[in-house]
C-alpha cells in the first residue's frame, strides 16, 4: 500500500463482526489487527464454526460479502471465485454447463442442524474434506489451481494460477487446503472443474459380514473398471440413544431395507456402464450375493445422502471422522460393529462415527485404535457435555513443531483463528 492509500484508508474495528467487501479491505483490516495484536475468527457463513476448538476472539472477520464468480472458463476447465462465494452458486453455474466439482462437496448442514447448508468455498477449502469420489479423483486440495489471500501481516499473497501444470515456487494451494483458516484469509480461489459424466448407476450388495464387505472394497480398489464411489451402510446399533435413520434416509424403490449393504457407483456413458457392470459382476463374484441396482434417478440422490451425512441429520451426539489405510477396514469395522452408529465411505478408507454424549472415554478408545493402526481422527461435532481432553486433530510432536513454524511464517502474531486446530497456536 502506498503512503497515499494509507492516508485514505479508514478501517474501523468498532463492530464485532468485520465484513470487508474487497480484498483490499481485508488487507487493511488485517494490517490494523496486526498493529493492535487483535486475534480474529475468520468465518464464511459459519457452517463449519463448530469444527475444531471453539474460539473466543473479540472480533470476527466475515467473508460473506466477498462473494461472486470472477472468471469461468468452461473450455479451460477452471472457475475463479471470491472466497465467500456459496458453493451452491458455483455448483449451479457448473451444472448449467454440464460440469461439476469432482471432489463432491459435502453438505455438513444436515449433521449440524438438520438443514442443508453447503457454506462457502473458502470454508470448504479450509477444511479439505472431500466427498465420496475421493479415492478416485483426489481431495479438495488436488482441485485447487491457485489462490489469493491475506497473510497475518496484511500482505496480499498469491500462489498457483489457472493452469493445471504449474510447479513455479512452493505449492501453497495445497498448504492452505485443510489449514482451517489459520494461515491466510482466503480472498480468491481458482478451482479445477470437470465434465459431468453422462449417466450413473449404483449396485447394492447386501451383506452383514464385515470380512466379505472389506474383501469387496479391496476388489473394487483393485479393479480397473473405475468405480467412482463405494460405501458400506451397516445396520444401526439397538441402543435407544441412537436415532434409527437408515431406513428413512435410504428409501428407494430398488433398495431392500433389511440388513446392511455395500453400494458402489459406476459412471459414464450407457455402453461403458453396461460393460463395466458385466466385468465387475465377475470380479466381485456378485452371483454369491443378493444384489440390486439403482438406476440414475435413484443413484444421484442416493450418493447425495451418503455424501451429506444424512444418517446423522440433526444429531445431538458426537460425530467423528476417521481415515484408515484401506487394509485396516475389516479390523476397524469389527472394532466399531454394533457398538456405534457408523458408516464407511471412500471404498473402505473413511469412517463416519457417531458416539453418544457423555461417552468421552469411548472416543479415547477409538482414537487409540486409529492411531495404533496408522490412521487419523478428527472430532467434528461435539455433543453438549463433550469433555474430551486429548486433541481434536491427530498430530505427532515433530509435525506439530513443523506446523507451528509454518504458522508463524504466515501469521507471526498468531492472530488468525487462534487455537482452532491445536491449543499451541
Amino acid at each position: 500500500m502506498s503512503t497515499e492509500e494509507k492516508k485514505n484508508s479508514q478501517i474501523s474495528l468498532d463492530s464485532e463482526i468485520l465484513s470487508p467487501s474487497t480484498e483490499k479491505e481485508v488487507s487493511e483490516i488485517v494490517r490494523e489487527i496486526y498493529s493492535k495484536q487483535l486475534p480474529i475468527e475468520i468465518t464464511g457463513t459459519g457452517t463449519k464454526k463448530g469444527f475444531g476448538y471453539n474460539l473466543q476472539t473479540a472480533k470476527k472477520l466475515s467473508l460473506s460479502k466477498l462473494s461472486g464468480i470472477i472468471d469461468y472458463k468452461k473450455e479451460e476447465l477452471y472457475i475463479k471465485v471470491k472466497a465467500g462465494t456459496p458453493i451452491q452458486d458455483i455448483e449451479k453455474i457448473l451444472d448449467e454447463n454440464n460440469q461439476e466439482l469432482a471432489f463432491e462437496p459435502i453438505d455438513f448442514g444436515y449433521m449440524i442442524n438438520g438443514q442443508s447448508n453447503k457454506g462457502t468455498i473458502g470454508g470448504y477449502v479450509a477444511c479439505n474434506f472431500a466427498g465420496s469420489r475421493r479415492f478416485k479423483v483426489g481431495s479438495v486440495r488436488d482441485h485447487i489451481l491457485g489462490f489469493k489471500g491475506v497473510n497475518g501481516k496484511g500482505d496480499i499473497i498469491k500462489s498457483g494460477g489457472t493452469v493445471v501444470k504449474n510447479v513455479t515456487g512452493y505449492d501453497l494451494s495445497k498448504l492452505i487446503s485443510g489449514s482451517f483458516g489459520t494461515l491466510v484469509v482466503l480472498t480468491e480461489i481458482t478451482l479445477k472443474v470437470s465434465p459431468k459424466k453422462q449417466s450413473q448407476i449404483t449396485v447394492i450388495v447386501y451383506s452383514d459380514e464385515i470380512k466379505k464387505i472389506s474383501n469387496l472394497f479391496d476388489k473394487i480398489l483393485s479393479s480397473s473398471n473405475e468405480v467412482s464411489a463405494a460405501t458400506f451402510i451397516p445396520e444401526e446399533p439397538s441402543h435407544k440413544n441412537y436415532e434409527h435413520t437408515k431406513n428413512k434416509v435410504f428409501k428407494f424403490n430398488d433398495l431392500d431395507q433389511e440388513g446392511s449393504f455395500l453400494a458402489f457407483r459406476i459412471e459414464g456413458d450407457k455402453r461403458s456402464i453396461d460393460e463395466r457392470l458385466k466385468e465387475l459382476k465377475i470380479e466381485l463374484d456378485l452371483s454369491n450375493f443378493k444384489s440390486s441396482i439403482l438406476d440414475v434417478h435413484q443413484s444421484i440422490p442416493f450418493w447425495k445422502k451418503v455424501n451429506n451425512l444424512e444418517l446423522f441429520s440433526g444429531t445431538k451426539n458426537n460425530v467423528l471422522r476417521a481415515v484408515m489405510p484401506p487394509a485396516k477396514c475389516e479390523a476397524f469395522s469389527k472394532f466399531l460393529n454394533k457398538n456405534y452408529k457408523y458408516y464407511i465411505d471412500w471404498c473402505g478408507s473413511l469412517f463416519w462415527i457417531e458416539v453418544l454424549d457423555k461417552d468421552d472415554e469411548k472416543i479415547n478408545k477409538i482414537k487409540n485404535f486409529i492411531v495404533e493402526n496408522s490412521g487419523y481422527l478428527t472430532i467434528l461435532k461435539k455433543s453438549e457435555n463433550f469433555d474430551f481432553q486429548d486433541t481434536l486433530f491427530t498430530i505427532d510432536n515433530t509435525r506439530l513443531m513443523i506446523s507451528k513454524k509454518i504458522k508463524e511464517s504466515f501469521d507471526p502474531k498468531k492472530l488468525f483463528n487462534p487455537g482452532r486446530m491445536y491449543r499451541e497456536f
Binding site: V167, T168, S224
Partner: protein
C-alpha cells in the same frame, strides 16, 4: 558456461575442507565420501549441463540416520548442502556449489515394501520411477506419473520437482500420486508426513514438500500410490494443415468432456526431425501432429476414439490413423519419444524449455515462438503436452559459441515470459532451479516471494539447504522495480534482495 550469479562463497568453509571431510567420516563409511577431483567430476552438473560447479565434497549416505547426522553437523557448522537424486533434472536444481556438500541419495536404492492390500509401494528415494512400475507390473499395477526420464530419474527427485509426464492429463502429477514421505530437515530432525492413508490431517506438509526443489528437507523414503493398468489403451495419430486447426481440436476435445490419458502435439520442425531420426512414418503434409491416447474399457475406448476422430475432422484434420494393436500404438509414440535425441542430432546442443499456457492459447504461443525463432535466428522445434497446456520448445544451438548460448537463454526467457503473459506458468514440470530463478518476478510480486522465503526460513533458518535455487538472486530483478526488499525485513544474507 554462461555467467551465473551464485550465493556468496564462504571461503572459511573451503579452507576447512579436510577437517570437514574427516568429520563426515564419523557419520558414514569412508568410501561414501568423495573428495578427490576425479571422483567428484560426475557430480559437477545435472540435466542442465550448461552449468557446472565443483562441490566441496560428495557424500553418499546409506540410511536416514546418516542423513540426519550429516545435516545436523552441516547446520551447526554453517555448511551448505545440495541434495541430489539421479541428477536428471533439467532446471539445474542439483547444481553444486563450491562451498557445499553434495548429498547424493544414490545408495537409497531399495524398494522397502510392496503393499498390494493398501495399493501402495514404500520405497527409498533413489529407486527409479520406472523401477517402481517394474516391481508391481506382474500383478497388473503401475505407478502413474511418467516423466520422459523415467528410466533414470529417481522417485525422490520426482517428489522434489513434482514431476509430471505424458499421462498427467488424466492421472495427475507426483503430488497427486504420493501418500507419504520420510524427510530429514536441515537441523537433522527426522519426520514422517502422511503414510498409507488418503490425505493427512493438519497442514498439508506433503503438498508443500512436493515440488519444493530440495529446499525444505531431504526425502529419505516415499510411499507412492499404485494403480491397476487399464484394460484397453488405444491412440490416434492425427495431422492438421495449420497450427490453429490443431490447437482448436485440443480445446474442442477437452470441452466435449473427454479426458484422454494423454494428448501430445508436435510442430512441423519436430515432425521432420523425429521422422528422420526414428522413421516413425509421420505424415509429411501436416503442420502439426497430435497423438491422442485413450484408456478404459474396450467399448469405452472405441467409442471415445470415434468421438475424437469426429472432432478432428470438424477441425480440418488432413490425416488420421487409429491404433488397432499395441505395436501400432507404440509406433505412434516412437517419434514423440525420440523428440529430444532427434533434436540432438540436428544441432550440437539443444535447450529444452518448459512453460505452461491455457490450452486455448496453443496456436497463439506457437506463432510467437516462431516469430522469436526468426528474431534470434535460432531453430526451434516444439513438443507439447497439449492436453494440459505444457510446452517443451527445444531451441537448437551450438554451445561452443558463447554468444549463441546467451541468445538461446534470452530466447527461452522470452518464451516463458510470453507463457506468463498469456495466463500460464513459468514451469509446468521441470522446476525453477537456477534456470528460471530470475524470472520468478514475472509470476510473483514481492509479497508472494517474501511469503515463500518466510516458509523457507522457518524450516531452514540459515538458508543452507540448496541455496541459490528457485528464488531470484540477481539485482536485475529488483532494479526493474518489480521486486524490492520488503521493509528491509527477513533478509537472507546470501540473497541480496530478499
Amino acid at each position: 558456461m554462461t555467467e551465473l550469479a551464485l550465493p556468496k562463497i564462504d571461503k572459511d568453509t573451503i579452507s576447512r575442507k579436510d577437517q570437514i571431510v574427516s568429520h563426515l567420516k564419523k557419520f558414514t563409511k569412508d568410501e561414501n565420501i568423495l573428495s578427490e577431483n576425479e571422483e567428484i567430476k560426475p557430480y559437477e552438473t545435472d540435466g542442465l549441463a550448461a552449468y557446472k560447479q565443483t562441490p566441496l565434497a560428495v557424500v553418499l549416505p546409506e540410511n536416514t540416520k546418516e542423513v540426519s547426522e550429516i545435516l545436523k553437523f552441516c547446520n551447526e557448522e554453517n555448511i551448505k548442502v545440495i541434495p541430489r537424486g539421479a541428477g536428471t533434472g533439467l532446471s539445474g536444481g542439483a547444481l553444486p556449489l563450491q562451498d557445499a556438500i553434495l548429498l547424493g541419495l544414490g545408495k537409497f536404492n531399495k524398494i522397502l515394501e510392496i503393499d498390494f492390500e493398501n495399493k501402495c509401494v514404500v520405497t527409498q528415494p533413489g529407486v527409479t520411477n520406472l523401477g517402481i512400475t517394474h516391481a508391481v507390473q506382474h500383478k497388473g499395477y503401475y505407478y502413474a506419473p511418467d516423466p520422459s526420464s523415467q528410466l533414470a530419474c529417481s522417485i525422490g527427485g520426482n517428489v522434489a520437482e513434482n514431476s509430471g509426464g505424458v499421462h498427467s492429463l488424466k492421472y495427475g502429477t507426483t503430488t497427486n500420486n504420493i501418500l507419504g514421505v520420510e524427510m530429514v530437515m536441515m537441523d537433522g530432525t527426522i519426520t514422517r508426513i502422511g503414510g498409507k492413508t488418503l490425505d493427512q490431517e493438519g497442514y498439508d506438509l506433503l503438498g508443500l514438500v512436493c515440488g519444493s526443489e530440495g529446499l525444505l528437507g531431504v526425502i529419505t523414503e516415499v510411499t507412492v500410490k499404485i494403480l491397476r493398468k487399464p484394460q484397453s489403451v488405444r491412440a490416434a495419430l492425427i495431422g492438421f494443415p495449420t497450427v490453429e486447426d490443431g490447437g482448436n481440436c485440443v480445446s474442442d476435445i477437452i470441452s466435449s468432456g473427454i479426458v484422454p490419458a494423454g494428448m501430445e502435439m508436435m510442430d512441423k520442425a519436430l515432425i521432420d526431425a523425429t521422422d528422420k531420426f526414428s522413421k516413425a512414418g509421420y505424415p509429411k503434409d501436416a503442420e502439426v501432429l497430435m497423438i491422442v491416447e485413450l484408456d478404459g474399457t474396450k467399448s469405452e475406448v472405441d467409442g471415445l476414439l470415434n468421438k475424437v476422430s469426429e472432432i478432428a475432422k470438424q477441425n480440418n484434420s488432413n490425416s488420421m490413423k487409429l491404433s488397432n494393436n499395441e505395436k501400432e500404438r507404440l509406433a505412434f509414440w516412437s517419434g514423440r519419444k525420440a523428440a529430444f535425441p532427434a533434436c540432438g542430432a540436428m544441432a550440437p546442443d539443444y535447450y529444452c524449455m518448459d512453460g505452461s499456457i491455457p490450452r486455448g492459447k496453443l496456436s497463439l504461443i506457437l506463432k510467437e515462438i516462431n516469430e522469436l525463432s526468426k528474431k534470434y535466428n535460432l531453430a526451434v522445434a516444439n513438443a507439447f503436452h497439449a492436453g494440459d497446456g505444457n510446452l517443451h520448445p527445444l531451441i537448437m544451438f551450438d554451445g561452443s559459441d558463447k554468444e549463441q548460448l546467451r541468445k538461446t537463454e534470452e530466447f527461452g526467457a522470452e518464451i516463458l515470459k510470453a507463457c506468463v503473459k498469456h495466463g500460464g506458468a513459468l514451469t509446468g514440470e521441470h522446476g525453477v532451479g537456477i534456470e528460471k530463478r530470475e524470472l520468478m518476478c514475472e509470476s510473483f510480486n514481492n509479497n508472494d516471494i517474501q511469503q515463500q522465503l518466510n516458509i523457507k526460513k522457518s524450516l531452514d533458518e540459515k538458508n543452507l539447504l540448496n541455496p541459490g535455487k528457485v528464488y531470484p538472486i540477481l539485482r536485475k530483478c529488483a532494479e526493474e522495480g518489480r521486486v524490492h526488499v520488503h521493509r528491509g525485513e527477513e533478509k537472507f544474507p546470501d540473497l541480496p534482495r530478499f
